[in-house]
Amino acid sequence: MNNEELFALFREVVQSIEKRPLEDVTPDSVIADLGIDSLGMMEIVGELESRLDVMIPDDQLVKLRTVADLLGVVQKRLEAR
């Protein structure tokens, strides 16, 4: 799965969980600016894990700033499979 596909999946997952459209989100978007709290973030990660059949340890989720940071972690786990 390339970065574009992963980003598209991310958008889809976020929209289905947050139940609102995500305007102007790009890989450079700062996660904090998306208006998603820690609970929402975990739900999104859980859904990505489920769809992609990967597992991301909690401590890899702590220092993320942008969407690209998060997707980078996901991409690494996909490659490690």
Binding site: A32, S38, E49, D58
Partner: protein
């Protein structure tokens, strides 16, 4: 009298039941009580080898139940005082987290801090800066040779410290003795749940650094030899179906969760997940730690009835860390008991029954556990009668000693013979109804936040003055869920609102992980205050809800202004 340590020894000697630890990677680890006791002794011996002496505090940042449970019990077994701490989250800025850790370690005078290597690496220098007087020990490096420790704690010995409030302002450590711990643990299992190791099995994803998970599922079950299936909290949040799947697979009979978790499960679990489930084994679906919503519980029951869930399993309960954990339990097997009352009358201190469609529906939290006394008192401290709303005050054998090293707060909360809960409620006969949260406390997703903490942070934003804002939780459309609202005295400058809003949201988010649902700007000097200048949060919220706030820059003026400037 028999403490938790004695109970653990007894369980190790007599029970063949196994705890099950579900790991983040999906694997399971089964541990019998005797193995658990041995592991605990290993941890205890390790703590002593690292220099801890009887009565010393050992802080724990151990997110996985797999390691947390034996480490926590290990401290107790070695005559030490565990101090559980929450781990860093994915959204709160690490510097803010470091600040909280620093406060707790200092306040508790912690001798040791135990955490996994991965956490230590994550926190890096932040940790060294936060813990100058505390020895940092990695779980992987703890010397855990098997050693028989023969400590018998006395009833009045301090068992543990539960730190309340998860934010940067002075967290307070609730001091719980072995006597209080045993009283509550036994009462929960025998009086409240009538639990037995022969037939019961607990299932929990609750955070173990928080009272409901810690006392409810780590401590109490040992007194009744009841095995527990532990899921890491983040596993549940990521995949809510894992909670009910575990109940189905392990035939769980008892579970507890805050209200938001029942709502989350209802909306996130898919039909294909629940297809094969049989949840009829669940005889207790407890609910506590935050205000309970009858519609949420009904929706959950409706959703999972086809999978065998019984609504009579619901067990609303009330309690707090200052009471070790549990104060009141609903009777077993009772259908949800709610009270429909007039919301206006409620605000004025009377729980007047109402059949109006605007009636507030309050969920009953049951009756006081035996030996515990619950009273409702007025502002002047006088005891109020049935259906009169006042502060809930309690006394009994599980009320904690006080706050660690904080005489003033201890006197204010525990002084006078009764614990002042700060929660508002009323009695109808024996039945307790909790009608209002602690006077200003914000409870979101089962966690407590002090408004002062959020307000301090908001006041750091350019344009908002110190003491010039108020934070509270309120239901916001369209979801009708509780959200964080900030009301701040600040002018509504042309085109500047978005920037100010973004700055406020970012500051709040990075320090508390909370999303600001709404920011309202009001004219300078219009925030309601007491005669001594303190902000009146409840009144501010009331005005917000009623639309009575003096908003900055009325819309028409702004539009006129813009029209003028565009000319």
């Amino acid at each position: 009298m028999s403490t938790l340590v004695h109970a653990l020894r007894h369980a190790a000697a007599t029970s063949r039941a196994e705890h099950v630890f579900l790991r983040p990677d999906g694997t399971e680890r089964r541990v019998r009580f005797d193995e658990l006791f041995e592991e605990a002794q290993g941890y205890g011996a390790g703590f002593l080898a690292e220099g801890a002496r009887p009565g010393d505090r050992v802080a724990l940042i151990v997110p996985d139940p797999d390691a947390f449970v034996p480490a926590f019990l290990g401290a107790l077994v070695a005559g030490l005082v565990p101090v559980p701490l929450y781990p860093p989250s994915s959204v709160i800025k690490l510097t803010a987290y470091g600040s909280t850790v620093s406060h707790v370690l200092r306040k508790a005078g912690a001798k040791l801090l135990l955490l996994p290597r991965s956490q230590r690496e994550l926190l890096g220098e932040l940790l060294t800066a936060a813990a100058p007087e505390t020895r940092i020990v990695e779980i992987e490096a703890l010397p855990r040779e098997h050693r028989s420790i023969d400590v018998s704690p006395r009833p009045d010995d301090v068992a543990l410290l539960q730190f309340t409030s998860g934010s940067t302002s002075a967290p307070k450590g609730v001091v719980v003795t072995h006597a209080q711990l045993a009283a509550n643990g036994r009462s929960i299992m025998f009086d409240g749940l009538r639990a037995s190791g022969d037939v019961d099995r607990g299932v929990s994803w609750l955070p173990l650094y928080h009272d409901m998970g810690l006392i409810g599922f780590v401590v109490a079950p040992i007194f009744a030899l009841v095995p527990v299936v532990f899921l890491p909290t983040s596993s549940f949040i990521r995949r809510p179906s894992s909670w009910l799947a575990a109940i189905h697979k392990h035939r769980g009979t008892i579970t507890f969760a805050p209200n938001f978790a029942y709502a989350l499960a209802t909306r996130a679990i898919k039909d294909r997940d629940l297809a094969g489930w049989d949840l009829s084994c669940l005889r207790v679906a407890g609910c506590g730690a935050e205000p309970i919503s009858a519609p949420v519980l009904r929706a959950f029951a409706d959703r999972f009835a086809p999978a065998g869930f019984r609504e009579t399993a619901y067990l609303p309960a009330y309690g707090m860390a200052e009471a070790t954990l549990a104060l009141s339990f609903s009777p077993l097997g009772r259908t949800l008991r709610t009270d429909r009352v007039d919301p206006r009358a409620l605000e004025l201190g009377e729980a007047t029954p109402s059949t109006d469609e605007n009636a507030a529906e309050i969920v009953g939290c049951g009756v006081a556990l035996p030996g515990t006394e619950i009273r409702i008192v007025g502002e002047d401290g006088s005891v109020l009668g049935d259906r009169k709303v006042g502060e809930i005050v309690v006394r009994g054998p599980s009320i904690a000693t006080g706050y660690f090293d904080d005489e003033e707060a201890t006197k204010a909360t525990f002084g006078g013979g009764f614990l002042r809960t700060g929660d508002l409620g009323y009695l109808d006969g024996d039945e307790l109804f909790v009608s209002g949260r602690k006077k200003d406390l914000i409870i979101l997703r089962g966690r407590n936040y002090f408004p002062q903490d959020i307000e301090t942070v908001v006041a750091q934003v350019d344009g908002i003055a110190e003491g010039g804002c108020v934070a509270f939780a309120s239901k916001l459309p369209p979801s009708d869920e509780e959200s964080l609202v900030i009301v701040a005295e600040a002018p509504l400058r042309e085109g500047r609102f978005e920037a100010l809003e973004a700055a406020v949201k970012e500051r709040v988010y990075e320090t508390s992980g909370l999303v600001v649902g709404k920011l309202v700007l009001i004219r300078r000097g219009t925030l309601p205050r007491t005669s001594s200048g303190k902000v009146r949060r409840a009144e501010t919220k009331r005005r917000f809800v009623e639309g009575e706030l003096s908003l900055s820059g009325e819309r028409e003026h702004v539009d006129d202004h813009r029209a003028e400037n565009e000319g």
